[in-house]
Assembly symmetry: C2
Homo-oligomer: 222 residues x 2
């Protein structure tokens, strides 16, 4: 079992709840931090003292308050912590359900497990820890399925996804056409893009392109 575990999570009661779960797994040394910066300091200190953490459980989003912050998100913390201690195992514990975000997170960093906050979280967290001990990677149910689909998405679905992303990023129709021309996409003309946006609006039952973007975000497509 893991010996030294660090929890980075700004919400107090979640902190306590996770601590309790870890206690049930007979983990003895549990440390909590409410700020990313504090968490990083603790990683550093433990590493230098020769008693490094072997697991970091971290949220992704941390609220801003009066304190100055260097690290503002779980991603930043993960990056900084792995720079110090590359073998540190990491469980991301977040409400984030947008599969695109999760996918790029997993592609960018070496994440041991992704556990979605929700009704099954304590169950999931325990399963994640056990999987990690066996050298496996763990994803919450649902996430795993979504990730499997992300890989098969054909170019056509990718097209729509990118299109929606570019819309959400503030590109105008003509700029999107230019971008698609650079990338040598099929259907790169302004006319085709207009048609595609139109189809998406029908598909998602959106009246305006603003609503289309809102729906796409809501469904986790972006």
């Amino acid at each position: 079992m893991f010996k030294n575990v660090l929890i980075a999570e700004d919400q107090n009661s979640i902190n306590k709840g996770v601590e309790r779960i870890l206690t049930e797994l007979n983990i003895l040394n549990i440390v909590s931090a409410q700020y990313c910066d504090d968490a990083l300091l603790k990683v550093k200190a433990a590493f230098k003292a020769g008693k490094p953490f072997d697991l970091l459980i971290t949220d992704l989003s941390f609220k801003a308050d009066h304190r100055e912050r260097t690290l503002k998100s779980g991603e930043a913390l993960i990056e900084a912590a792995q720079a110090i201690q590359p073998d540190l195992k990491i469980i991301v514990f977040s409400v984030e359900h947008r599969i695109g975000k999760i996918k790029s997170l997993l592609d960018t960093y070496k994440i041991g497990a992704y556990v979605e906050k929700g009704r099954e979280e304590s169950h999931d967290l325990k399963k994640a820890i056990k999987a990690l001990l066996e050298g496996k990677i763990y994803y919450s149910y649902g996430i795993e399925q979504l990730l499997r689909n992300v890989d098969d998405i054909s170019q056509t679905d990718m097209y729509d996804e990118i299109l929606l992303q570019l819309l959400a990023k503030g590109l105008k129709r003509e700029q999107i056409a230019d971008y698609f021309k650079e990338q040598e996409f099929p259907a790169r003309s302004l006319s085709s893009i207009e048609k595609r946006i139109n189809k998406l609006k029908v598909l998602f039952d959106a009246n305006t392109s603003e609503q289309l973007v809102a729906i796409a975000i809501d469904r986790g497509l972006i």
Copy 2:
């Protein structure tokens, strides 16, 4: 001290965290529910059994999953619970920080305390419970201040909030103008609405209204 307390909260670890806080206050009978419908059933049962709850601590948003739901939000639960047991004290415990939403919540229902989830939540929760025992109303720090200003805010910031919501709901500029005319808002003309959207685009550094909606969602303004 309260004797029978019901916690309605879908997130497992928060549930456990809150339970621990209540235990520290020597509250003996603590019951948890992960679904609003379950919470309501428990309120009913306890009331009929002559051992009603004297405090309900509830979240506002509950995730959808495979289960059918009648009550889908904390608001719905509050309404249903107070219909059964009007004297039931209620603490709302939520991440909601949009002051407009909170204000309308407090205006609509008889809420004993509003505690915002965050770093200070366990401290706040304890203070809220003590205040309630003394017959006072409690709001988290920050919320209280915001509420004091809300009457000024409600006509300025609320305006932007609603504007963004209507955009995300797929209304066109002219339809938004019509809506504002019905509601007798200030700045209800098409021209004013265009100006306001423009200001928001500058403020949020958005190139298009699609991006504006995306940013607003991302920041939790909608």
